[in-house]
C-alpha cells in the first residue's frame, strides 16, 4: 500500500488533483462494473439460494468399510476446499445421513465447474507410462512414436534443469507393443531401475508368449480401448487397485485422445504437500504447475523419476492419473530429488489452476456419484435481507443526523466520504463476483455496516484534531495542515491493526472465516484510500472557503462554539478558584 507516501504528496497543496484522480478512479471502476454487466454483487447461498448437489459415497473396490465418519469428514473438508478454494465463494458442504454429502453452491456460480470439482474427486496417482498411443478416428498411425509428440506434451523437469531432448527412440518404435508391455511389467517391480532400459531394448520376441493371464488381459483391454468414446473413457481402468497396472485415457496437447497402459501407482495424491499454478515469466512456457511433495512423497518421487529417466520413450514418462483419467503425462530427463517438481505444458490459466487445485487437495478417500441435483431457495429468505437493509438504512440515517447535528458543516465532508467509501465497496464487491467468485452473505453485509463505524472513525479523529488545533487559536488552514499529520498517524496505526487481523485470518483460515477476513481487509484498505485521497484533499479545499475559514456558525468549526474565546459562561468562574493552586 503506497497510500501513505502518495498521500503526503497529495497534501502538499494540490488537493484538487488528488480529488480529481480519485473521482476518475471511481468513475472508471463504476464504468468497469457496468461494462462487465455485473452490476450487483453476487449473493451468498443464505441470501440468494443456489444449487444443491447430493453426492452418494461408494466404497472403493477392494476396500470395504471405507464409508465411515472419518473418511466422510475428510471428504467434506477436501470438497469444501475445492469448491471454496479462495474462501469467498460461500459454498457449503456438509454430510447427510451416513453416506451422503450435500454441496450447496450459490446462484451465479459456475455450477458445472463446481460439480466437476466435487464430482471428479477420485484418487490421484502418479503411475509410470508403459505404452501409449493416440486413439480414435484421427489416430492415423498407432505407433508408439506418437508419444514422441511429448516435445509438445507436458514435460516434467527439476527447477531450472534442462529440458530433455525429446528424440523419441527408434528402438521403442521398433519394438512391438505387446512385448513392450510385457517387458515393462516384468521390469518394473525390480528395485534397481538401472537395467530396465537395456532389458526392454534387448527383450526377445518370445517374451510375449510367456505372458501371464493378467498381462494378457490388460493387453487385450488396451487394444480394445477407444478413448474417443466418452462412455468407454469413463469405464477405462475402473475398479483397478493402486498396486496393479491399468489402462487409462488422456487428452494430449493437441486435444487428441491418447490411451495408456500404466504401471502400478508409485506416488499417491496424499504425497503431494501442495501445488500451485504459476506463470512462467522467464521460460515463456506460459502457465505451469509446481508441486511440493511431503518428505515421504519426495523420496518416492525421486526414486520413480530416477528409474524412469533411464528408460526410453514412452517409458520415461509418468502419468498423473486423476479419477482414472490421465491429466498430464510429463516425461522425465533425470531423477528429481529436490522434493519439488513442476509440470509445464500448454496450460491456460484455468487448466493450471484446476490441476494445482486437484493436486493440492489430494485425493478423496472415497468415490462419489451424484445422487441428485436441485435448486434451493435462499436459506434465510428474502425477508431477512430486506429487514437487514431497512434496518441498516435507518441506522445510517441516524448516523447522518448525528453527524449533522454534531459536526454541522463538517458533516458534509463526512457524509461525502462515507458515500465515496460505500460506492467503492459496492463496485469492488460487484466486480470481484465474476473475477474471484466473491459472494456476499448476511454476515458480510453486517460486517460492511460495522465498517461504517471504522470508516467514520477516521473522519472523527481528523475532525477532532482540527478542532483541537482551532482551540489552540489557529486559523482554519494551518489548523487543517497541522492536524493532518497527527490524525494520519493515528489512522494508519489503528487501521494497520485491523488489516493485520484481516491478513492473518485470510492466509490461515478456510471457508467462511476467510470470506470475512477478505471483507474486513477490503473495507480497511478502502478506509485508508478514502481518507487519504478524498477526505483530506476535500478538507484542504474547503478550508479555503470563507464558510469554513471564518468559522461560520454552521460550519462546525466556529471558534466560538468550540470554546476558543474566553467563555462567557459561569464555568470560568467555577474554575477560577482552582487557578490559585499554581500560585
Amino acid at each position: 500500500m503506497a497510500a501513505p507516501k502518495k498521500g503526503r504528496q497529495g497534501t502538499q497543496g494540490r488537493p484538487g488533483r488528488t480529488l480529481a484522480l480519485i473521482l476518475i478512479a471511481i468513475v472508471a471502476l463504476t464504468g468497469g462494473m457496468f461494462a462487465s454487466g455485473h452490476t450487483t454483487p453476487r449473493l451468498g447461498i443464505d441470501l440468494a439460494g443456489g444449487t444443491s448437489i447430493t453426492l452418494q459415497a461408494k466404497n472403493e473396490p477392494g476396500q470395504k468399510n471405507a464409508i465411515n465418519k472419518t473418511n466422510m469428514d475428510t471428504a467434506v473438508d477436501i470438497m469444501n476446499r475445492r469448491v471454496n478454494g479462495l474462501g469467498v465463494s460461500e459454498a457449503e458442504v456438509q454430510t447427510q445421513g451416513d453416506s451422503n454429502i450435500i454441496v450447496n453452491i450459490p446462484k451465479g456460480t459456475n455450477s458445472e465447474q463446481a460439480r466437476e470439482q466435487v464430482g471428479t474427486t477420485a484418487k490421484l496417482y502418479f503411475r509410470p507410462v508403459l505404452v501409449t498411443e493416440v486413439t480414435g478416428a484421427d489416430a492415423a498411425t498407432p505407433s508408439p512414436s506418437a508419444s514422441g509428440s511429448s516435445s509438445a506434451s507436458p514435460s516434467a523437469s527439476a527447477k531450472e534443469s534442462e529440458k530433455a531432448t525429446s528424440s523419441s527412440s527408434p528402438s521403442a518404435s521398433a519394438t512391438s507393443q505387446g512385448r513392450a508391455v510385457t517387458d515393462a511389467l516384468k521390469a518394473d517391480p525390480t528395485p534397481s531401475g538401472s537395467s530396465t532400459g537395456s532389458e526392454s531394448a534387448a527383450a526377445s520376441p518370445s517374451a510375449s508368449a510367456s505372458t501371464d493371464p493378467a498381462t494378457a488381459k490388460l493387453q487385450a483391454e488396451y487394444t480394445k480401448l477407444d478413448c474417443s468414446k466418452r462412455t468407454v473413457r469413463a469405464k477405462a481402468g475402473d475398479g483397478v487397485k493402486a498396486g496393479d497396472p491399468t489402462v487409462a485415457c488422456g487428452q494430449n496437447s493437441q486435444g487428441q485422445w491418447q490411451k495408456y497402459i500404466l504401471g502400478p501407482a508409485e506416488v499417491e495424491g496424499t504425497d503431494v504437500d501442495k501445488a500451485s499454478a504459476v506463470f512462467d515469466t522467464q521460460g515463456a512456457a506460459g502457465w505451469k504447475v509446481t508441486m511440493d511433495f511431503t518428505s515421504k512423497g519426495g523420496k518416492k518421487f525421486a526414486s520413480i523419476t530416477g528409474k524412469l529417466a533411464q528408460n526410453q520413450s514412452p517409458q520415461n514418462q509418468f502419468a498423473i492419473v486423476l479419477d482414472g483419467e490421465v491429466v498430464s503425462d510429463p516425461y522425465v530427463s533425470q531423477a528429481l530429488t529436490g522434493g519439488t517438481a513442476e509440470i509445464s505444458g500448454s496450460f491456460d490459466q484455468q487448466e493450471a489452476e484446476d490441476l494445482s487445485n486437484m493436486l493440492s487437495y489430494g485425493a478423496l478417500p472415497l468415490t462419489f456419484t451424484e445422487a441428485s441435483v436441485t435448486t434451493v431457495t435462499a436459506a434465510l429468505g428474502g425477508e431477512q435481507l430486506e429487514a437487514g437493509l431497512i434496518a441498516g438504512a435507518i441506522g445510517l440515517a441516524l448516523v447522518i443526523i448525528y453527524l449533522v447535528v454534531y459536526y454541522r458543516g463538517l458533516s458534509l465532508i463526512a457524509i461525502a466520504s462515507l458515500l465515496v467509501s460505500a460506492i467503492m465497496t459496492y463496485v469492488i464487491m460487484a466486480l470481484l463476483g465474476p473475477t474471484i467468485g466473491f459472494a456476499l452473505n448476511l454476515p458480510a453485509v453486517c460486517g460492511a455496516i460495522v465498517a461504517i463505524g471504522i470508516t467514520a472513525d477516521s473522519f472523527i479523529v481528523f475532525f477532532e484534531r482540527i478542532r483541537d488545533e482551532i482551540r489552540e487559536g489557529r486559523r482554519m488552514r494551518p489548523a487543517v495542515e497541522r492536524a493532518w499529520p497527527r490524525a494520519r498517524r493515528t489512522i494508519l496505526v489503528s487501521d494497520f491493526v485491523s488489516f493485520l487481523a484481516a491478513a492473518v485470518l485470510f492466509i490461515v483460515t478456510v471457508g467462511k472465516v476467510q470470506g470475512f477476513a477478505f471483507t474486513l481487509g477490503l473495507t480497511t484498505l478502502l478506509d485508508v484510500v478514502v481518507v487519504f485521497f478524498f477526505t483530506k484533499p476535500l478538507m484542504t479545499l474547503l478550508a479555503r472557503r470563507k464558510f469554513f475559514a471564518e468559522g461560520h456558525s454552521w460550519s462546525g468549526l466556529d471558534p466560538k462554539r468550540l470554546g476558543v474565546q474566553p467563555p462567557l459562561r459561569r464555568t470560568r468562574r467555577a474554575s477560577a478558584p482552582v487557578d490559585t493552586k499554581e500560585a
Binding site: 466422510m72 434451493v376 431457495t377 454534531y406 453486517c446 487559536g473
Partner: protein, 377 residues
C-alpha cells in the same frame, strides 16, 4: 449539541475531566463482576450451537404449497430450535433443524407432517453433519492465535509491551463478555455469530489503539517534567480523546442497533438477531474497555517502572511541600468534590477536576498546549 462541542473544548483544555485512572478500581471491579457473570453463564447455560456447528436433522418434503416462512414457524414450534427452510427445485421443502437426535427427529417428523398436511411417509428425515466442520473451526483458532501473537509484537514495537499487554487484556475482556451474553440470552450460535466476534476482535483493538496513540503522544517527555504523574497524564489523554470515543461509538453502534432492534426486534428477522447481538455487545464492550480498562491498566503497569515511580515520588513530595506552605486550596485536587464547584453549571457535566495546568493562564487562548512537557519545575 453545541454543549458537547463546548464540553469537548473544556475536556481539551483539561478544565473538566473524569478521573478514569483514579477510579480504576471501581471499573476493574465492575468488569470483573461482568466477566464472572459471563463465565458463569457460559458454564451453566453453555452455548446453544447452531446446525452449522453440530449438525442436526434434515426433513425433505414432497411438493407442497406451504410457504417457506410458514414452514419455518412450524418447524421451530415442533423442534424448539432455529430452523433453516429452503424451497427445492421440485417444489418440495428442505427443513434443517439443529440439535436433534434420531428419536426426536421421528417425533418432529410426525408433527411436521401434521402441520404441513402431508403424509409423514413422504417426508424424508435424515441426519446432517455440520457444514462448519472442525477444520474450519480449528483453522480459525489457529489464525486467531497467530494474529494475537503478531498484534502483541506489533503493539510492543509501535508502543511498548505494557500497552500490548493491556490491549490484550481488554480484548479478552470484550470477547468473554460477548460470549457470556450469548450464553445468557440463549441465542443460537451461527457462523454469523462467530464472524461477529471476529469483527469485534478487530474493532476492540482498533479502538484501544486510538486511545493509546494519544497516550503515547502525551507521555513522550514525561520524565522531563515534574508536574504530573503518569496516571494523571493517562487521565488527560483519555479525556482528550473522549469526544472522539463517544462519537465513534455512537456512529458504530447506531447502525448495529438498527439491525438489532428494528431488523431483529420489530421486523423479526431471526438470523439478524444472532449477528447483530454479538456486534452490539462487542462494540459496546470494546469502547468501554479501551477507556475504562486498557488505559488504566497501562497506567498501573507504568507506575511500577522505577523511573515513573521516582517521578511520582518527586511530584508528590513537591506537592506535599507546597501544601505544607499552608495553601488551603492545594489539597489534592483530585479529591475535590465538584458539587460545590459548579453549583449552577448548565452543562451539569459530572466532572471531577483533575490536575490542572492552564489555570495559570485563565484568559489565555489555549497556549497551554503541549503542557506535559511544561518547563516549569
Amino acid at each position: 449539541m453545541s454543549k458537547l462541542g463546548t464540553l469537548g473544548a473544556r475536556l481539551h483544555r483539561g478544565e473538566i475531566g473524569y478521573d478514569f485512572v483514579g477510579k480504576r478500581k471501581i471499573w476493574y471491579g465492575v468488569s470483573i463482576l461482568i466477566t464472572i457473570t459471563a463465565i458463569l453463564g457460559l458454564a451453566v447455560r453453555g452455548l446453544n450451537m447452531g446446525i452449522e456447528f453440530q449438525g442436526g436433522a434434515v426433513f425433505t418434503t414432497e411438493r407442497t404449497s406451504i410457504s417457506v416462512s410458514q414452514a419455518e414457524t412450524y418447524a421451530e414450534e415442533a423442534s424448539g430450535h432455529d430452523a433453516i427452510v429452503q424451497k427445492l427445485g421440485n417444489g418440495g421443502l428442505r427443513i434443517q433443524v439443529a440439535g436433534v437426535d434420531t428419536s426426536k427427529s421421528d417425533q418432529i417428523k410426525q408433527q411436521l407432517a401434521k402441520d404441513l398436511k402431508v403424509d409423514s411417509e413422504k417426508i424424508a428425515a435424515d441426519l446432517v453433519g455440520p457444514s462448519w466442520g472442525d477444520q474450519v473451526a480449528n483453522k480459525a483458532w489457529q489464525g486467531l492465535a497467530i494474529f494475537m501473537v503478531l498484534v502483541v509484537i506489533y503493539l510492543a514495537i509501535a508502543f511498548e509491551w505494557r500497552m500490548a499487554a493491556a490491549a490484550l487484556v481488554a480484548l479478552i475482556h470484550d470477547i468473554t463478555i460477548t460470549v457470556g451474553v450469548y450464553a445468557l440470552v440463549g441465542f443460537e450460535v451461527t457462523p454469523g455469530t462467530v464472524i461477529g466476534l471476529l469483527t469485534i476482535l478487530g474493532y476492540s483493538l482498533y479502538d484501544t489503539v486510538v486511545v493509546f496513540d494519544s497516550l503515547k503522544e502525551q507521555t513522550k517527555d514525561i520524565t522531563k517534567q515534574t508536574r504530573y504523574t503518569y496516571s494523571e497524564i493517562a487521565d488527560r489523554s483519555i479525556n482528550g480523546t473522549l469526544v472522539r470515543s463517544i462519537n465513534t461509538t455512537v456512529v458504530a453502534l447506531l447502525p448495529v442497533a438498527g439491525l438489532l432492534f428494528i431488523g431483529g426486534g420489530v421486523l423479526g428477522a431471526g438470523m439478524l438477531n444472532d449477528i447483530s447481538l454479538s456486534l452490539f455487545v462487542g462494540l459496546a464492550a470494546g469502547a468501554y474497555s479501551s477507556i475504562f480498562i486498557a488505559t488504566p491498566l497501562v497506567a498501573d503497569f507504568k507506575e511500577r517502572e522505577p523511573q515513573i515511580k521516582a517521578l511520582r515520588k518527586r511530584i508528590l513530595a513537591k506537592r506535599a511541600a507546597a501544601a505544607a506552605k499552608g495553601e488551603s486550596l492545594e489539597a489534592p485536587v483530585v479529591e475535590r468534590s465538584y458539587d460545590d464547584e459548579e453549583p449552577d453549571d448548565e452543562d451539569a457535566t459530572p466532572a471531577v477536576v483533575g490536575p490542572r495546568a492552564q489555570r495559570a493562564q485563565p484568559s489565555s487562548r489555549g497556549r497551554g498546549r503541549g503542557r506535559p512537557s511544561g518547563k516549569r519545575r
